[in-house]
């Protein structure tokens, strides 16, 4: 019984992990994709804690999801701002 419960728990962990990965990969908005990637990294850390790898879980949360995510987020924000600027100049060009 408890083995069955544990299996369901494992399944939920894995399915959510893969779901987050797919969401991060196909999300149409880049910024949201990065957010989802960070969520994926944090969830991965959780799964690794379940697999009795606390050292690596800590590192993944802090380095992989945390700093990697922060770096990507900065890039995504720049990209979004760039798009916004481009959009404005295009619009102005059409008006004029």
């Amino acid at each position: 019984m408890s083995a069955g419960l544990l299996l369901i728990f494992d399944l939920v962990l894995v399915v959510t992990l893969i779901g987050l990965a797919i969401a991060a990969l196909v999300s149409p908005d880049v910024r949201r994709a990065v957010m989802l990637f960070i969520a994926f990294g944090l969830w991965l850390a959780l799964v690794w804690a379940r697999l009795r790898a606390p050292d690596v879980a800590l590192a993944e949360a802090a380095i992989g999801a945390g700093l990697g995510g922060a770096l990507m987020l900065a890039a995504a924000r720049r990209a979004a701002r760039q798009e916004a600027v481009d959009g404005q100049t295009d619009a102005r060009g059409e008006e004029g």
Partner: protein, 92 residues
Amino acid sequence: MEQLLYGGAGVILFALGLWAFLVYEPLLRKLIALNIMGSGVFHLLIAIAERGELPPDPVPHALVLTGIVVAVSATALALAMGRRLEDDSGGR
């Protein structure tokens, strides 16, 4: 069973990342894809380290720690190169 479930998830993550790396063009997408590919490999290593009753194997854990740092370094360099390209094309 557990090992196959978690290890299989690692393989699936690797394949998903590989697919996205080949299909998407933008740099940030490719980097997310590469990082998810890497996470898949790391996840496989963590999964095979865990063996039920025995204490988990610390060697794959250390390999993954090394891998995570390497992946972040590469991501940071790639993003800086991408930013350089952005700046150059923006400053025309």
